[in-house]
């Protein structure tokens, strides 16, 4: 087969700041490497079950060799270990991205609070509070950013599962997690269009508009709170990946555990994916609130 996701990934220079571009690059690399680990585990398991047949060699051999992996049980296991170490490194980088995002949001929060307060003072001093202005529809925007994601958080798949085989209903958990991931994707798609539509304008007084702007500021802060929760969840994913990495290297997970390892990796990937997707929703929401409130302040 041509591409199993194990071809050498070109490490790009990190982008400037805590940008969407940087998140995209990190995210795609992590997802690709999760797929690579899962695929290598599955191939390893296939060899165990059917042997290194000519069909398997033809199908995946060139891909494995071009990635510098020896096409043997030992070689594949080494490949899995290397890829997993790589995932752990990148998840750590993702954690740093979250920290940077937090700092950047705090700066935005302070700047927006300042602008809002200044404008309120100015409007009070000018005595123009009841003057009519045309501003973006804050209520419509608030409705868009208030769309909630699934509340119930499903358990993270842990190393204990892999070692003790203690989770019986793994398929059901996968399916449920997959549903949650799809819901978040749908929210992203829906709110994207609604967000654009919510920028339409209404006529109101400066006083009411500034009040609405304060409401958006409140939603912005709520979004920051959700982002804090996301970063806590990302920390859990990182800790989980770290545990798996330790277990692989200390031989707690052995070469013949690849079938179970593939199952666990699918679940860890799902946990990771869910956190990143909801972070995207929350960050998009805080950005929408900020753009909205600054537009109102500007127009008052």
């Amino acid at each position: 087969m041509y591409n199993l996701g194990i071809d050498t990934v070109v490490d790009t220079e990190p982008g400037v700041g805590w940008s969407e571009e940087q998140l995209f690059e990190l995210d795609q690399s992590i997802l690709a490497h999760f797929d690579a680990v899962i695929n290598l585990c599955t191939i390893s398991d296939s060899i165990k079950k059917y042997g290194k047949t000519q069909q398997l060699k033809d199908l995946v051999g060139p891909s494995i060799e071009s990635a510098g992996i020896t096409f043997s049980m030992e070689g594949l296991w080494q490949g899995i270990k290397d890829f997993f170490k790589w995932i752990w490194d990148k998840i750590k980088a993702m954690w740093n991205w979250f920290k940077g995002l937090f700092t950047s949001n705090k700066k935005k929060e302070a700047a927006a609070a300042n602008e809002l307060a200044e404008k309120e003072k100015q409007v009070a001093a000018d005595g123009t509070a009841n003057q009519q202005v045309e501003v973006i529809d804050a209520k419509a925007l608030a409705n868009v950013v208030s769309v909630e994601l699934p509340k119930e958080r499903l358990p993270f798949i842990t190393l204990e599962y892999l070692i003790k085989d203690s989770i019986d209903n793994i398929d059901a958990i996968y399916a449920e997690k997959e549903k949650q991931i799809d819901t978040v994707k749908k929210v992203i798609e829906d709110t994207k269009q609604l967000g654009i539509a919510a920028m339409s304008k209404i006529t109101t007084t400066k006083n009411v508009a500034l009040n609405a702007s304060r409401g958006l500021f409140g939603l912005f802060k709520k979004g920051l709170h959700w982002l804090m929760e996301d970063s806590d969840d990302m920390k859990k994913v990182e800790q989980n990946v770290a545990k798996f990495n330790g277990a692989i290297n200390n031989n707690k997970i052995a070469e013949n555990d690849t079938a179970k390892m593939a199952v666990a990796m699918k679940a860890v990937k799902q946990d990771y994916q869910y956190v990143i997707l909801k972070t995207k929703v929350h960050q998009a929401n805080v950005d929408k609130c900020l753009v909205g409130l600054l537009k109102i302040v500007d127009e008052c």
């Binding site: 087969m1 041509y2 591409n3 199993l4 996701g5 070109v10 790009t12 220079e13 982008g15 400037v16 940008s19 969407e20 571009e21 998140l23 995209f24 690059e25 795609q28 997802l31 797929d35 899962i38 695929n39 599955t42 191939i43 296939s46 079950k49 059917y50 047949t53 000519q54 069909q55 398997l56 033809d58 199908l59 994707k185 992203i188 798609e189 994207k192 654009i196 593939a262 699918k266 994916q273 995207k280 929703v281 998009a284």
Partner: protein, 318 residues
């Protein structure tokens, strides 16, 4: 096998602006579709040669099932045809993105010209005011005064070192020029060395992007008269005016690539087992991967120049 690239593509939050992450998303999806097409092609070959063995079914069956594809020769051929429809959709998306870049680059260049003109006017105005203050500039006292004024009027500007860009472009040209590219053309990327060559080019481009980021972040202090600052601003505006042509060139490349995709599709329709199709699709995938890197470099250079111009404008007080 869990993921052979035929699972539903992740839909990320696509920003509404004409920004690089949107192009990266489009390019990534396009690349995944080419992976899927190539993987399906390989599985089809395996199916024909060895049959639908248990090993193959175990390996790829669940992926096929979740993507709604039948694990048979006919099922795979149909799926590849479907993937081509999505490939065309994404290429259209990239084309639209480039069109957006074209108009935003024009706006950036126009704005830069306005800023550079505003800087020039401000400097001229200041010069005239200064000149009108001296009755006879030839007298010793007035010469001394004008010298002191001139010294005072020198500006220390903390700015990205835009001169370094020239050196960087020369290095880019030399290094890319040193890569042997015999027999390679953009319109017919069927040369077996395409992947190898483009891998090398991508590494160089990424290094250059890193250097641009360094220039952008590590400012230098320059001491210039307001007139010299205005001349730098004019040159930046001229550079941005030249750069606005680049999206047009990128758009031409996309048109050429569209023809190459049409060739790949035709090769497949004529013969699903075609080896030429496989090479064409492999190389196309690689070529397409380079587009966001090129756009990223363009974006970074543009942002750097705009940033430098804004600093000059502020320092001159225009």
């Amino acid at each position: 096998m869990y993921n052979i690239g035929i699972s539903t593509t992740v839909v990320a939050d696509q920003p509404t602006k004409c920004d690089i992450s949107k192009l990266m998303q489009l390019s990534y999806e396009l690349e995944s579709y080419f992976d899927a097409v190539l993987n399906l092609h390989a599985i089809n070959e395996s199916l024909k040669k060895y049959g639908k063995t248990s090993q193959l079914t175990d390996l790829v069956g669940s992926s096929f099932e979740s993507a709604g594809i039948t694990l048979s020769n006919e099922g795979i051929v149909d799926a590849i045809k479907d993937f081509f429809k999505w490939i065309w959709d994404k290429i259209k998306g990239i084309w639209d993105w480039i069109k957006g870049l074209f108009s935003s680059s024009k706006n950036v260049a126009d704005k830069a010209k306005q800023d550079a003109d505003a800087i020039k006017s401000k400097v001229n105005e200041t010069d005239q005011q200064a000149a009108s203050g001296y009755d006879d500039p030839k007298t010793h006292m007035n010469l001394l005064r004008s010298f002191e004024e001139l010294q005072k009027s020198f500006l220390i500007i903390n700015i990205p070192d835009v001169k370094k860009l020239d050196g960087m472009f020369k290095e880019l040209e030399t290094r890319c020029g040193a890569i042997p590219t015999e027999g390679m053309t953009t319109t017919a990327p069927s040369n077996p060395h395409v992947v190898e060559v483009l891998d090398k080019i991508e590494v160089i481009l990424n290094e250059m992007i890193g250097k641009i980021d360094d220039i952008s972040q590590n400012h230098v202090n320059i001491s210039v008269s307001p007139r010299q600052a205005s001349e730098i601003a004019q040159r930046i505006a001229e550079a941005l005016d030249r750069y606005k042509q680049i999206p047009g060139e990128l758009a031409n490349k996309i048109k050429q690539l569209e023809r190459a995709v049409a060739t790949a599709e035709r090769l497949f329709s004529n013969n699903p087992d075609s080896e030429k199709f496989k090479t064409q699709a492999t190389n196309l995938k690689r070529v397409l991967k380079l587009i966001p890197v090129l756009a990223k470099m363009y974006d970074r250079v543009q942002a750097l120049l705009v940033k430098a111009l804004a600093i000059i404008k502020k320092e001159v007080g225009a």
